[in-house]
Symmetry: C2
Subunit: 149 residues, 2 copies
């Protein structure tokens, strides 16, 4: 079980890989982001992207899943107030192998809730050509390790 104290500034965690299939890209986009470059392979070929690309919200969802599996699921996380600087830097195409990495930018105790600590992180997804396709900065609250726990 990881607590606030287990996320020191500068910590880097490799979160593993994921790829989004064409079927997954279509299913997500039909539900949440039905724009032609995400839902229609033919129209997507004629777009500036030259083919189907994943919704940026799908890419960040896939990152979130790796973050939960690798870090948050076995931690004293109590939630997040939000994210900043979410950037979709390169298109994500079906089958692209996306590698996720978490870096702790800042770790500080909470002033208002002394039993919590505040972690600011940068998340990145990199494709098989070593291009960063997505970047996001997030804040997460974790409970602190109490003496005896």
């Amino acid at each position: 079980m990881r607590y606030f104290e287990d996320f020191p500034e500068g910590l880097v965690v490799e979160l593993g890989e994921v790829a989004l299939s064409e079927d997954e890209i279509l299913a997500f986009a039909r539900q949440f982001d039905p724009q032609p470059m995400h839902t229609d392979p033919v129209a997507a070929r004629e777009s500036i992207y030259g083919g189907l690309i994943a919704s940026g919200w799908h890419t960040v969802g896939a990152y979130m899943r790796l973050l939960v599996d690798g870090v948050l699921g076995d931690s004293a996380s109590v939630g997040s107030p939000g994210v900043d600087n979410l950037r979709w830097l390169k298109p994500v195409k079906p089958g692209d192998r996306l590698h996720a990495r978490l870096t702790v930018l800042e770790a500080k105790p909470s002033n208002s809730r002394p039993e919590w600590g505040i972690i600011r992180t940068r998340g990145e997804m990199t494709n098989q050509r070593a291009e960063v396709v997505m970047r996001v900065e997030a804040v997460n609250f974790f409970t602190r390790r109490m003496s005896g726990s």
Copy 2:
């Protein structure tokens, strides 16, 4: 068809309402954000949230869907480089009625691509108690209306 010129600074667009069912919250979270407050009604009841809440990524996905249905789907949008200040301000529970609103914060021509314009927006989701549950600032590129089109 809406072009860059159809999104003047100060424009407000009401995007309609959506509610997330318990089944939808569970299905989304099992795929993208399997933390107990999103996937396990019993564990969620014992958490600081007092019951199941939607993943913040689900809430923003539901907002995106209303944005595509109400604005982007019938526009000359060519994509988004990203978002800032995405904040989850209040928990979203099953059945909460979420009303979405788009406000254009800034509209300016692109310097590097004269055929494009750049729109900066604030999106908000408000629940049935008039509480803002989510806020996000986004940038979108749209092609400009050319003379004759």
